[in-house]
Symmetry: C2
């Protein structure tokens, strides 16, 4: 340090400490165990303070508010106007035109007959409209959950050989998915879905998109699934060409429509109605040319009429019960993750807030009732929600409109789908899932956080090269590994004083920060828990050993005080206290005094409860690092 | 605020900021991905920098150091002296006298014949002495692992009906326990055992102690296990009285010896040799009186001679392979946890350091070789290690001495154990496990951390009322729940300025800290990750809403600046960046400016990588809260 700076520093010190005023470390107001426990539980389960509105209300009002909480439609419905309905009507019609073709395709993806997709776009959105709190979400079957469900179901039952049991297991899984979603919301455990990281979801979704696209491409290029009714090689060849031609040309049309919609946000309705147009045109074309006789695969049959009951189809006993539960758990959680992500995204855009737990209750109820009315797992669809938003929806009424259109479709026009070529459905699914492959998001993840990127590509490759389940498992594992790494190996940094200040900062971040002779200042950037207490102790000792070695090499006097800056240490447990005690004893043998700076209220409490404060001496616990340095090494500091 | 304090504050401000000098937030030195990744991996897997000694050494020296790392005996053996041997000899003889009776009792606890306990005290300590780095640990079979092993093995094979397969599965489990311990150490994954919290271990151990004591008491009071050779009710009655008499009186003797040892640390050798004396006296007594003919259960037979090979006994194929692996995994991890805890405890007392991963390699090797020489899982024993330490051991040579004594016992005096009454073994086991019930530790845990206490009693009741496995599962689950809670619901606190300073502290801890008008200062006490990003965002918004409501009630002007103090935020991921961006947008709509104070190097990097720094404006990122307040609300501050 040059003498010029030293003088400045000394002046600064003199100015900053007219009398060296040392703050006392406060003892926080005492809380008893019940208060403490209640506060923790409240913060864990009710961080959004949902009961606030019930406070100081008469009982009748509380009851009304309670009902309104379960059915938000009672709240927003009172202010509903014709102007709002106009927006909802247009949005509802738009998403209906998008969902009908997608539903049929997704049902096939899930290994079910086409009408089950339409059923799932009728009952669930209706129920959601009454119970959900997102204005923009569009409810129905989605590609990823359909694929996941099919994969999990096929592991148990062959959909070709035993379609009835397969369907029954699908309803069972849907039922339990609903129960689990409901339970998570009801017991306010919704935070559990936060354990799937954004990055892992991006990778998982992209992987699922690629898998679905490849699978559909196989269909589109005319392979097995479409040939089961014919076995003459020449015929097979002849219709392949037609199927391919139809499929490829409509796929090109759909992707072009998508591109237009992307380039000009005002033309969002073009990709939204393109699928329906494709269906109409191609169905008409097949009907006119009777291309089906030349081997073009068609839908052939789709049940007319509203959802039949499926209460008796659900396996409430037997070995399929537990299998249904397991499948429901996995598919239900993925469905939930998607719906909550959509809800949050659009809530942030519209600057309103949604209660994740309430959403889960709504989604759970809708799937439970869905499972009894021949629906399979429904959730929020990214693409349709975006269209809903852009088409100007105002409330969940757009879902009711969509639901109504689907009802009309089921009642009136399903027979017309008879001649719809399967290749078109494949094209529609491919163009729909193309949006799930979010290259931009992956690029951003790469830029911001490399570890996140590993989670992202891990999930992606897991899905593409192994299976959806393995991909999901990888995604969850990597997410968890990251959390565990965080608590296991918290950061510890050495602090130095910034010139012309009493501010102490990480010396590897601020190279101009100067170490105080005879004092080593280490900041621990985490709560000290059993999972890291030993590491923190040993890491601090290693910082000390490194520093002393360095000082010895330079023939400088050794360290007398080790100041641990505890500001970021939010909590400490018994293992942590033990580690600090061991640290103190180790330092004692090296004739170094352990000094704590700014322990928080919880830590202070525990230092006293464990008598560690007495062992260290209260005079070695300071409010700030600056105070600690002033008292511990006053001469060194001014040197 | 009274005008007196205001004036003081203003003077203070004036003094502290002769010119208002604002530090810039530094951009940390850029690291590329490989450097970053290597640094993370090094800190995760090699936090103790074990390769430091190899640096800048010629190859031959590196080879020698490498061998020495695997066999620390080559290091300390060179300085070994006769004086040290004296201590080791006495300690070794003492722990041998303690281990021989315990071994026989523990083998019975594990459902194996008595000689297997002795075998496990011969080979493993010998191997540990060459490879281990703890000076004080005493190796051999231990009560808890024996109980756990028996419980897990009995689930698969009935030890009464099929003792041979039972034994084979025990060796298989021991083999895999060794493999797993070795692998954890070799791949430097030893930190995984840190996931079992100290509190959970205390509860688990106490529960296991109670279970073992009750089980042995049942034997001691003469129930089934000992009656299998006789079926006449009168005989059963007659010997029960004798057995009970012998058992209870020796138990009283053993507990008295323990009490004496506890009261006067110098008399530690009394409880250490009391079990052997009990065995000798009671065996002699039974031999003289032929009490066995009157129905007192005796050991009857114990194989003479050194460990036979058991390589061919291990199941290397078939369904028992995977079962053995599973049992080995659970029992091996528990054994490891115990050994590492002991190693660390005594290393802290002797102020030397042990490398957890190297220890695991030593323990793993010893169990692998043990499984091939008729040993079952051995690990460090708390009670014997304490005796070893107090008897003045200097190195692992005391384990070699003990091993030698056990060898002599096996070769020469096992026939003498024929008349040893089983009730004595029960008494010895009971008095040994009494030490595992650590009431003081539980009390301390209750005082320091209530959540830890829940983990502790959860594990305890799980073991006592359900089973060892369930108790262990509860212990692990609660430990994990605590970790997850920590990352899921990090603390956010509102800061205020301490009078006469520029120090900002938690206002609920320091009620004298004053809020700055028009400014809300919130500190986030955790890395911002996907698991908590949404919570943090919403919690900050709720702090703001609460504050604005409060201000409105008091007719004060609203908040213009929201300063987020980021010092404790060690890292942020893509979800965290997204959450901050959403927070910024939400605040914009409320006409509140988001200001960041003291983001760390990693966070700064990512703020720039994601362009969020540009969005916020670099002028809204400060080094300290004080700087932020000075610039954002200069008038308010001096008001």
């Amino acid at each position: 340090m040059s003498s010029r700076i030293s003088i400045e520093n000394a002046q600064w010190e003199a100015a900053a400490h007219p009398p060296p005023y040392i703050h006392k470390v406060g003892k926080p107001p005492k809380k008893n165990f019940v208060e403490e426990f209640t506060a923790t539980m409240r913060e864990t389960l009710f961080p959004d303070d949902p009961l606030r509105q019930f406070k100081d209300q008469p009982w009748s009002r509380k009851l009304f508010l309670g009902i309104q909480t379960v059915f938000p439609i009672l709240h927003w419905g009172r202010h509903y106007s014709l102007g709002m309905f106009k927006g909802d009507l247009i949005a509802g019609l738009t998403i209906a035109s998008l969902c009908i073709p997608q539903d049929i395709g997704y049902a096939k993806l899930a290994g079910l007959d086409p009408q089950y997709g339409l059923y799932s776009s009728f009952v669930p959105p209706l129920i959601y409209a009454f119970m959900g709190s997102s204005r923009d979400i569009a409810i129905g079957p989605v590609a990823v959950v359909s694929l996941l469900l099919a994969t999990l179901l096929e592991n148990e039952i062959d959909s070709k050989k035993n379609p009835h049991d397969y369907r029954r297991l699908a309803f069972t899984a849907t039922f339990f998915a609903g129960i689990i979603q409901f339970a998570l919301g009801f017991f306010r455990l919704g935070f559990l879905i936060d354990f799937l990281s954004h990055a892992a979801i991006v990778g998982f979704m992209a992987g699922a998109a690629v898998t679905i696209a490849l699978q559909q491409l196989k269909s589109l290029l005319g392979v097995k699934n479409f040939t089961k009714n014919t076995d003459i090689v020449s015929v097979l060849r002849s219709w392949n060409v037609q199927t391919i031609l139809i499929g490829i040309s409509f796929l090109a049309f759909l992707l072009l429509a998508k591109y237009i919609g992307k380039k000009n946000k005002k033309l969002f309705w073009i990709p939204a109605i393109a699928p329906l147009i494709s269906i109409i045109v191609s169905t008409f074309f097949v009907y006119i040319t009777r291309a089906d006789k030349k081997g073009v695969g068609i839908v052939r049959h789709i049940n007319q009429g509203v959802n039949p009951s499926s209460v008796n189809e659900i396996f409430f006993a037997g070995s399929y019960l537990s299998k249904g539960f397991r499948i429901g758990l996995v598919a239900g959680m993925v469905a939930l993750t998607e719906a909550v992500a959509i809800g949050r995204t659009f809530a942030a855009m519209g600057d309103y807030s949604i209660d994740g737990n309430k959403e889960m209750i709504a989604l759970g109820t809708m799937n439970i009732i869905g499972s009894m009315t021949s629906c399979y797992i429904a959730t929020g669809s990214f693409s349709r929600s975006a269209v809903n938003f852009m088409a100007g929806c105002n409330t969940a009424v757009s879902n009711i409109v969509m639901s109504g259109v689907v009802l009309l479709t089921l009642e009136l026009i399903t027979p017309l789908f008879k001649y719809t070529p399967n290749a078109i459905l494949a094209s529609i699914v491919i163009s729909a899932v193309a949006g799930l492959f979010d290259f931009q998001a992956a690029l951003l993840i790469w830029k911001i956080d490399k570890f996140d990127f590993i989670a992202c590509i891990g999930a992606f490759f897991g899905v593409v090269f192994i299976s959806v389940e393995i991909g999901l498992l990888i995604a969850v594992s990597i997410s968890f590994a990251k959390i565990l790494l965080q608590v296991m190996r918290p950061r510890t940094v050495v602090l130095g004083r910034l010139p012309r200040s009493t501010v102490y900062r990480n010396i590897s971040h601020y190279p101009e920060a100067a170490k105080v002779p005879g004092v080593l200042i280490v900041r621990v950037d985490s709560a000290i828990y059993f999972s890291n207490s030993n590491y923190i102790k040993e890491r601090i000792l290693r910082w000390l050993a490194d520093e002393e070695e360095h000082l010895k090499e330079n023939h400088q006097p050794g360290i007398q005080f080790l100041i641990v800056e505890m500001s970021p240490v939010t909590d400490i447990d018994t293992s942590g206290i033990q580690a600090l005690e061991e640290l103190h004893r180790s330092l004692e043998k090296r004739e170094v005094q352990l000094v704590l700076a700014n322990p928080g209220p919880v830590v202070i409490d525990k230092l006293h409860a464990s008598k560690l404060a007495d062992l260290l001496g209260e005079e070695h616990i300071f409010l700030t690092v600056a105070d600690a340095v002033t008292i511990c090494a006053p001469k060194n500091e001014e040197a």
